[in-house]
Symmetry: C2
Subunit: 357 residues, 2 copies
């Protein structure tokens, strides 16, 4: 067991004091980095990159070589589980992900297998082990999965969607069938995240990218309930340390209290909410992660610094904040911008925390 | 001046008691109706339909022939103003709207003319007059415009967008230039809506479709501030009746108090918020319009009725509710579904209001 040299991220998630606010970026291993584009070209297509443990490790660590980030996140796709369940994930050039076998009916759902994820997605576990070895305790490694509802939308639509014609159609015409699908997915996600933790993930995040398109009762019934069952089913300790669980529902700012009730350790927030107000609502029950508008990284130095300061001071000097973007970093961002952002986070947060440690 | 035979909609917007909750649907004249598709085919392209007062009138009235709706809404495009300012609106088959001359720099913005809208968009005013004549007092006619921020996003991006790379890029790199554009647009929208009111619009709605992609401070500074200046600049009376103003920011559920402070009469709400909670927040200061998830119309009779009941009972028997979808009706909805929805609104709301009139 290698000693963890930088545990700011894990400490902040457990609401413990830190010297400076830890920072990472959703999609930090991505197309905005020329070195990522080079490795991806070498791998061929996107899934080949995900399935090659050495190359997945390489792109996971690339942003850490450029920036003083406080966490690494496993490089993988959000749709590995439906692929392992036989939906046939593929990518069209210039398009988002697609499934060759969408799931539309109760019979389709009934037929779906739920294979043990440590075997079915052994390439993910290999990547986790390889990354942990290469990180060598430099920073913690985050594992992740899509939420059951988010995975279900892709499986039912067969692709990304704006209106969720089929997924919401099923919800409002045959809710029982949708629940059967979500139950299978909740079991699969629990198994998948536990396998990642066993392989070496030191924190996990559940990405509920499309929970925010639901009404409040539908969010509770079709998304949150299944995330709660996952949180309850996770093995939340490894190497003698807690393995914190982060829930991120994009557009879920209205439902934070209910999200905190799941028993998770932290909530990820998009940029449309005010961090200070969110903290007032959930108090010290969970840590908060976020929430700079990713588009701020199209701005100049002065604006980047000003917006970072706004986010940090809104949360204040309490323990329990992980700085992040409110959504993934945009592919068109100049790689000099995250450097400006991270420097501002470090300088401003050190001053904030100086009086409190 | 023709007597208005059904004033439920206007009464509800002014928080006066009604016998049943008035109902209309955003995008009620649209592709889900076969008769709309026939008229559109006759007109040729979309803008030709908007520019032909007789045909625009025909499609405006089509949904009223099918359903007992309590309001008509002018059939037009949201992007008429940028087109009148010389941006060159066009539509690619199967794509959204595009501009041949996007606005990207302070110099582009400086050059933009703001012509008097009654002349530059006389085809809209002709459509309003024609529709009023044909409605003959059956129900009130709603005029509308996009919000300055929403219009600006299309003008700057040159098309629809998911990430607002250029619009938010301008916001975070040259906010002064963006303010100059928004000032021109606020003047143009005020003029445009006043011209619609002079031509016969009996209520107006401002569609802030993309306000919800902003941070709270950015929403206040770049969207809400300009909507407030429009609300303050409108002539809010015609034919001896108030002309109510409705603000609709999709994804703006977190900012209702600030929206109500603009002095508008009503707020449109998307389906992600609970109407009863919203009413508690804004009290009787404004009416509320909404907020059935448009995807409910993919459901069966029982689910449609159940969701309608949930929306109506959440608001309760207070005056000041206009029933609507939380966003435009989807083109794939079966035309029998709105009939089920409207019947449920009428029956359930009559019972709700029975004790209070």
């Amino acid at each position: 067991m290698t000693e963890l040299k930088n545990d700011r991220f894990l400490r902040a998630l457990m609401r413990q004091p830190v010297d400076q606010t830890p920072v990472w970026m959703m999609r930090q291993a991505g197309r905005y980095l020329p070195e990522y584009r080079a490795t991806r070209a070498q791998a061929g297509d996107f899934m080949s990159l995900c399935k090659n443990a050495e190359l997945a490790c390489e792109v996971t660590i690339q942003p850490l070589e450029r920036y003083p980030l406080d966490a690494a996140i496993l490089f993988s796709d959000i749709l590995t589980i439906p692929d392992a369940m036989g939906c046939g994930l593929y990518f069209e050039a210039g398009e988002g992900p697609r499934f060759s076998h969408p799931v539309r009916t109760a019979a389709d759902i009934d037929r779906l297998p739920v294979p043990p994820m440590a075997d079915a997605l052994d390439y993910v576990m290999n990547a986790v082990k390889t990354i942990r070895r290469e990180l060598n305790g430099r920073v913690p490694l985050i594992g992740f999965s899509g939420s059951p509802w988010t995975l279900a939308t892709y499986m039912i639509e067969g692709a990304g969607s704006k209106e969720y014609r089929y997924a919401k159609g099923l919800m409002y015409s045959d809710p029982g069938a949708l629940h059967a699908l979500l139950e299978k997915l909740a079991a699969a996600v629990t198994d998948y995240l536990n396998a990642q933790i066993a392989a070496g993930a030191q924190a996990v995040q559940i990405f509920d990218t499309w929970g925010g398109v639901l009404t409040e009762p539908a969010y509770r019934e079709f998304s949150l309930k299944y995330m709660e069952s996952i949180v309850q089913g996770l093995v939340r300790e490894a190497d003698g340390r807690p393995v914190p669980v982060i829930l991120f529902t994009k557009g879920g700012g209205q439902w934070l209290e209910a999200m905190a009730d799941t028993g998770c350790d932290a909530l990820g927030l998009d940029w449309t909410v005010d961090l200070g107000q969110c903290r007032e609502r959930v108090g010290n029950r969970v840590a908060l992660q976020g929430n700079l508008d990713p588009s701020v990284l199209f701005g100049n130095d002065e604006q980047v610094r000003r917006e970072v300061e706004r986010v940090l001071t809104s949360f204040g000097s309490h323990p329990g904040h992980v700085f992040n973007l409110g959504h993934g970093i945009n592919q068109h961002v100049d790689p000099s911008r995250p450097a400006t952002m991270i420097k501002a986070v470090q300088e401003i947060s050190r001053a904030l925390h100086a009086g409190t440690n």
